[in-house]
């Protein structure tokens, strides 16, 4: 199909050239034809004139001779007889011209006439020879001259017929000549007309194509203008802040009302330069190759806003610039953080019993150690024994403190600030947080953290800990729902993969059902009884992971569920503040 249309297009392009060639050859042909016909016509008219002339001369001479004979017969004086002699000689000289000359040979049926003419030549020779005797003789001349006239009469008829035939032939020839003289103008005219027409067609085609081309160009220009107008309209009306930035000059070229409201209505305000600098510094490349912005921007008034958006190259007023689209997501972020906080507090609420139990353990040890220490006080070796008991008490107090710290850290309001932090200790803290519950449920928590202890990632550490805790609690809950599932093991793994770090939580608790899987990351999708789960854990996990420029996926494998986080490794270990 494409090949065909390509051929058609090529043919269309070749066709003016072909028309040109045809026109040119038609012109040349016309010229050649005209010249050759002109030549033929000249030749023909010349030959017609001369051959007719020869016949006419001969006939004229015969008439003159006959006339001289008849006049001499009436008055045979010397002058008349001399005239007869002269005429006879001239006539005699004319006859060979009829068949012997170039012109004479063109006469029609001259070949058949030649013997007749030659016979008359002999007759004429006889007469010419007899002339002197006739002139000088005394015999009556009149009968002789009359006899000669009669003898030459057939020659006169023959010559007349030759002349007539010649005239007829010439007429014929003239006809032909006329038709020829008409024809040559007809054919070249036709050819001229043809070539003219092709030329006109050629010019028309060209003109049409040029017009079409012009129309297309105009349409394209109109479309571009309209598009530019539409783009400006869209940019103006967009609720998000949009600005066109000249990255080389670090200057803003255009802002829409939303941008004016967000930063400053004047393009010269120094806040714009600050915003451009921060954006260019913090720009990240997304998975699709696009430029992503996620920045915290301190307005002149002191407010810090969290901005998200993108950067893309555009042509603006004929120059390559950057279009920056920004959304102030401080509020969404605040709402998200509040939701996360609520979810965390809910988790803590659910865990209150487990936490109390966990705290009671060290307290029980302490209580017993204190009781035993009291007994030792009376004994002789009291010092050492009591000191040992006090050590045990200290250990247990520290244990209780750790538990309380964990709870406090977990319950902390998330800051929403991104910073680089070490991944491994965060995973260990999350694991420690659920350790007691796992023990209570008889679930083994296997840690396989194959990443350097200082491997850093960028994000909010507390939020990531919450995400991991939720995954571990989900796995525990799955085991609780399927008491028979074995082995009761949950793996928490971390390993490097392609400049990213993979964090997996895998269990063997039967996996996630298909209908739950379809809405797994949607908020409020839960299979847990009211009060036990809000269905927010995974939806918040997704938003946290997305904020970290990562991915979260869930799949069922080996008779269990596996949730995988793919997180980018932070480039610099130095802490830097972002959105």
């Amino acid at each position: 199909m494409i090949f065909l249309s390509h051929n058609l297009r090529a043919g269309w392009r070749a066709w003016p050239t072909a028309l040109c060639a045809v026109t040119f050859s038609l012109f040349v042909a016309t010229a050649l034809l005209y010249i050759s016909e002109r030549k033929e016509q000249a030749l023909l008219s010349e030959s017609v004139t001369t051959s007719g002339w020869v016949a006419y001369q001969a006939q004229l001479e015969y008439v003159k001779t006959d006339d001289a004979l008849k006049r001499a017969a009436l008055r045979p004086d010397a002058e008349a007889l001399a005239d007869v002699g002269l005429r006879l000689e001239i006539l005699r000289s004319r006859l060979p011209l009829l068949y012997g000359s170039e012109d004479g040979r063109m006469l029609p049926e001259i070949d058949a006439l030649t013997p007749v003419l030659q016979r008359f030549e002999i007759v004429l020779d006889g007469m010419i020879d007899a002339m002197p005797a006739l002139e000088s003789g005394s015999a009556p001349k009149e009968p002789i001259l009359k006899a000669w006239s009669s003898a030459l009469a057939p020659l006169g008829r023959e010559l007349q017929s030759v002349l007539m035939a010649s005239v007829a032939y010439n007429n014929n020839l003239f006809e032909r000549e006329r038709s020829l003289s008409e024809q040559p103008t007809l054919v070249p005219l036709a050819l001229l007309f043809l070539s003219g027409s092709t030329l006109i067609i050629l010019m028309l085609t060209r003109a049409r194509r040029d017009r079409e081309h012009l129309r297309a160009v105009e349409a394209a220009r109109r479309a571009v203008t309209e598009m530019e107008r539409n783009l400006r309209g869209v940019v103006q009306a967009a609720p998000s802040a949009m600005l066109v930035v000249d990255p080389a000059e670090r200057a803003v070229r255009f802002i829409n009302p939303a941008a004016a409201e967000m930063v400053h209505p004047s393009l010269d305000h120094p806040d714009w330069t600050r915003l451009i600098d921060t954006s260019l510094e913090e720009v990240q490349i997304g998975d699709d190759g696009g430029m992503i912005l996620r920045i915290a921007f301190a307005k002149s008034g002191g407010d810090v806003v969290s901005l998200r958006g993108s950067l893309c190259p555009v042509m603006w007023e004929g120059r390559p610039q950057m279009l920056m689209v920004l959304i102030d997501n401080s509020r969404t972020r605040d709402a998200d953080l509040q939701l996360i906080q609520a979810a965390k507090l809910a988790t803590l609420g659910e865990m209150a019993t487990a936490i109390a139990h966990e705290l009671n353990q060290p307290l029980a040890v302490i209580r017993m150690a204190v009781a035993n220490a009291h007994r030792h006080l009376d004994a002789a070796d009291a010092r050492e024994a009591v000191a040992a008991k006090l050590d045990r008490v200290t250990t247990q107090v520290n244990r209780a403190k750790r538990i309380i710290d964990q709870v406090r850290r977990y319950g902390r309001q998330p800051s929403g600030k991104a910073a680089t932090f070490a991944l491994r200790p965060t995973l260990e803290l999350a694991a420690g947080f659920v350790a007691e519950q796992y023990r209570a449920c008889g679930i083994r928590l296997a840690l396989q953290l194959d990443v350097p202890a200082d491997l850093a990632i960028l994000g909010d550490r507390d939020l990531l800990e919450h995400v991991i805790v939720n995954l571990l609690i989900n796995a525990r809950d799955a085991f609780e729902q399927r008491a028979m599932a074995r082995p009761r093991t949950v793996w928490l793994r971390a390993r490097l993969h392609d400049q990213k770090v993979l964090v997996e939580v895998e269990d063997m608790a039967g996996g996630i059902s298909e209908e739950v899987m379809a809405h797994l990351f949607e908020p409020f999708s839960t299979t847990k009884p009211a009060g036990a789960g809000a269905g927010l854990g995974l939806s918040l996990a997704r938003s946290v992971v997305r904020d970290m420029n990562g991915h979260i996926v869930a799949e069922n494998m080996r008779n269990g569920a596996c949730i995988t986080l793919l997180l980018p490794v932070a480039r610099t270990p130095a802490t830097r503040e972002a959105a």
Binding site: N360, V365, N372, R392
Partner: protein
């Protein structure tokens, strides 16, 4: 009075089990300490026949309640005379009989009170 009295303690928290053992020993009890229910049950099967069985409610996969139930199925001469259960959980309405035991305590326990209760139970029985 407690010369011939013995107690089998089962708790997976080694420190606690140790302190409990030390306390009862100091009070003149023969003490057997186990950190897991299966071990404890084995000892009971083998004829440990303690006067008292003191177990934590949550001791690994095999819970203290299960240990109590299994012990109750032993022949009468192998059974303890008094069953005590400890738990770290905050119990709102649960009672000793809900777990099939004679005495129920929430950690941290007051050992003197526990000892007292056991004595009273044995005296009353």
């Amino acid at each position: 009075m407690s010369e011939d009295q013995s107690i089998l303690i089962c708790d997976d928290e080694a420190d606690l089990a140790g302190e409990l053992g030390e306390f009862f020993s100091a009070c003149g009890w023969r003490t057997i300490v186990h950190l897991g229910a299966p071990d404890a049950l084995e000892a009971l099967h083998a004829g440990a026949a303690p006067t008292c069985l003191l177990t934590d409610l949550r001791v690994g996969h095999f819970s203290g309640a299960e240990l109590v139930a299994a012990t109750r199925r032993l022949p009468a001469h192998l059974q303890p005379r008094v069953y005590c259960l400890m738990t770290g959980h905050v119990l709102d309405t649960s009672e000793a009989k809900d777990f099939g035991v004679d005495l129920l305590y929430v950690k941290p326990i007051d050992p003197d009170m526990v000892l007292n209760d056991i004595q009273k139970f044995l005296d009353g029985a």
